[in-house]
């Protein structure tokens, strides 16, 4: 197995794998973004993120099969429903552990993920259900065939990520949020309801995960365990990027997706481990992560 020469690989294969990588990267970006926002505000690594992504996909699938609600409506409704569920979890459980070590938030949300995934598996089994593509067909770009829906996913993910960035970095609510992340006591003294802000943040982060799940539904099978392995990869993405910057999460997510795509072309067996290898390298060279502050 010699070094990979991308000029020897057919451009058809190269571009389609890079597109696949971009799609994976879109999901890494959306999920790591949500994790970073939640961690910044709640000081909790949300292990339930993968389960909530799965719930988003399931909600869309149930809406379609049981209530005939189309994809486009589900793209908005499902994140709202799952986000509200997240708010319930935050109000009932998470708020009780903010004063404790980070470890307990990790353990609590891990337990919740086990419960949610176990219940879905028990009710609907482990085999996946297909979700019809809302925009079938595609275009031949000359150098590759682009399925319309996949192109849409990449674009939609970019819009969602940038909108989140804008909301946090450029709006008044975002300014409150960033201030409360830095110094909750002081922000509270200014008369801002910080606990409500925390609840809202968790709902937003969970909603983001659910929206990613809805986008994933037509590409993957909708199944109870679709988020289980994904969340572990996203943890590695978060370690690589560091959780300090929103833009950092977006760039790292898409970047690693592309790296994965290239690996699939060059040396397929390594494609599902390459992100972990990158993580090891980053830990060696820049332990705080590419965009991380030492904290």
């Amino acid at each position: 197995m010699g070094a990979c020469n991308i000029f020897e690989v057919s451009s058809q294969l190269l571009f389609s794998q890079v597109l696949l990588g971009l799609i994976n990267g879109a999901f890494y970006a959306m999920l790591s973004l949500g994790l970073a926002v939640i961690f910044g505000m709640l000081n909790v690594i949300n292990f339930t993120h993968g389960a909530q992504y799965m719930m988003g996909a399931f909600a869309a699938w149930l809406m379609l099969t049981e209530l005939d609600i189309p994809f486009w409506a589900a793209l908005v409704l499902s994140p709202v429903v799952v986000g509200l569920f997240g708010i319930l979890i935050e109000r009932l459980l998470l708020k009780r552990i903010y004063h404790l070590d980070h470890l307990y938030g990790f353990l609590l949300t891990f337990g919740l993920a086990l419960m949610i995934e176990g219940l879905f598996q028990w009710r609907w089994g482990s085999s996946g259900a297909p979700y019809p593509s809302p925009i079938p067909g595609g275009t031949n770009l000359g150098f590759m065939f682009l399925p319309t829906y996949r192109g849409f996913v990449v674009a939609a993910a970019l819009v969602i990520c940038l909108a989140t960035w804008f909301a946090i970095e450029r709006t008044r609510l975002g300014a409150y949020l960033r201030a409360a992340t830095e110094n909750p006591t002081l922000v509270r003294a200014f008369g801002i309801n910080v606990p409500r802000l925390i609840t809202l943040t968790y709902g937003l982060g969970v909603g983001l995960a659910a929206m990613a799940g809805v986008l994933a539904a037509p590409i993957q099978q909708v199944s109870a365990l679709m988020g289980t392995n994904l969340v572990l990869v996203v943890f590695a993405v978060v370690v690589i990027g560091g959780m300090g910057s929103i833009m950092g999460s977006i760039v790292t997510g898409f970047g690693l997706g592309i790296v994965e795509g290239f690996t699939k072309v060059c040396y397929p067996p390594a494609s599902n481990t390459v992100i972990f290898v990158v993580m090891a390298l980053v830990l060696l060279i820049k332990p705080a992560g590419l965009f991380g502050q030492t904290k």
Partner: protein
């Protein structure tokens, strides 16, 4: 003091007589997981490092042992020693990288490395992929002096291995080295300023924990005759955390009790199928919210309070 002697005698009698009352394979499995949980707890309780990827040492050691004993046909002793060394080597590499980050990042990094090992195990031919390594033979120990075919005989071997591992951890914690480790856990900056190289201590604790986890994994492969992907999966990593949590994080007997509870739950609640995971998740939530000290921690707190008032 006499109370302690009494407890020790009772524990010894129970441990020796247990296989004649309870199914010995269950006991052996529980002892293996108890040792595994103690190794995990050594790292968390005494170095303050929570690894969420300990299944990689447990599972890889099981594969090493199975491969050496079944495919290469070497004696059991070689299998155990090589498996422990292999797990320690893996611990050295992953530990050296993971201790570069602290706190919750450490948990995520170990989790990620374990997932990488899992993916490798799915692909590599030496693990047998989805089927795993089946039919690992039990061979007699010490040139045929100690038979292991019989479950009752093997029980005492496993008990001895458990006591060896448990004793090693106990010695380690109560050595000067263990004291320095605790100092680092409580205040890393101060330990550094006193001239202790914190990272080196943490790494050694990590390697030792990995090695004992490996011993547990290899012994388990010997008991049940197989090594599978389940042993290296994130599920097993989570289970060992649950065992330590149920028993009491940072207590020395807690993980043993926690392991017996979790293994008993798996065996006796097998009929509920997927719901076992739901129950495990529920226990996580309840313990984190209501009983963070675990069985042993809560019990000793209650005991002390009772003494004070009584």
């Amino acid at each position: 003091m006499s109370n302690r002697v009494l407890i020790a005698v009772v524990v010894a009698v129970v441990a020796l007589a247990a296989p004649w009352v309870v199914y010995p394979v269950f006991l052996m499995k529980a002892l293996c997981f108890a040792l595994f949980a103690c190794a995990f707890n050594l790292l968390l309780g005494y170095a303050g490092l929570m690894s969420f990827g300990h299944a990689m040492f447990f599972g890889m050691a099981a594969y090493f042992y199975g491969h050496i004993v079944k495919i290469w046909g070497w004696p059991t002793e070689f299998g155990l020693v090589t498996a422990v060394l292999g797990a320690a080597a893996l611990g050295l590499v992953t530990g050296a990288l993971a201790i570069r980050r602290q706190g919750i990042y450490f948990a995520m990094i170990t989790l990620a490395f374990a997932q990488m090992i899992y993916f490798l195990c799915v692909q590599m031919p030496f693990t047998g992929g989805e089927d795993g390594l089946q039919g690992i033979p039990r061979k007699p120990l010490f040139f045929g002096l100690i038979p292991t075919e019989d479950d009752y005989g093997l029980y005492y071997v496993v008990l001895a291995i458990f006591l060896f591992g448990y004793g090693a951890i106990y010695r380690f914690i109560h050595s000067p080295f263990g004291q320095v480790l605790k100092a680092i856990r409580d205040n890393e900056q101060r330990a550094l300023s006193l001239g202790y190289e914190a990272d080196r201590y943490k790494l050694l604790a990590f390697v030792l924990s990995a090695a004992v986890s490996g011993l547990a994994g290899a012994t388990k492969a010997m008991v049940v005759h197989f090594a599978t992907l389940t042993d290296v999966s994130a599920g097993t990593s989570g289970e060992v955390v649950l065992m330590a949590l149920i028993g009491g994080l940072g207590t020395i007997t807690g993980p043993v009790i926690g392991a017996f509870v979790v293994i008993a739950m798996q065996d006796y609640l097998a009929f509920v199928g997927q719901l076992v995971l739901v129950i495990q998740g529920f226990i996580f939530v309840v313990i984190v919210l209501a009983a963070r000290r675990g069985i042993v921690g809560e019990f000793s707190a209650w005991w002390k309070a009772r003494k004070r008032t009584g």
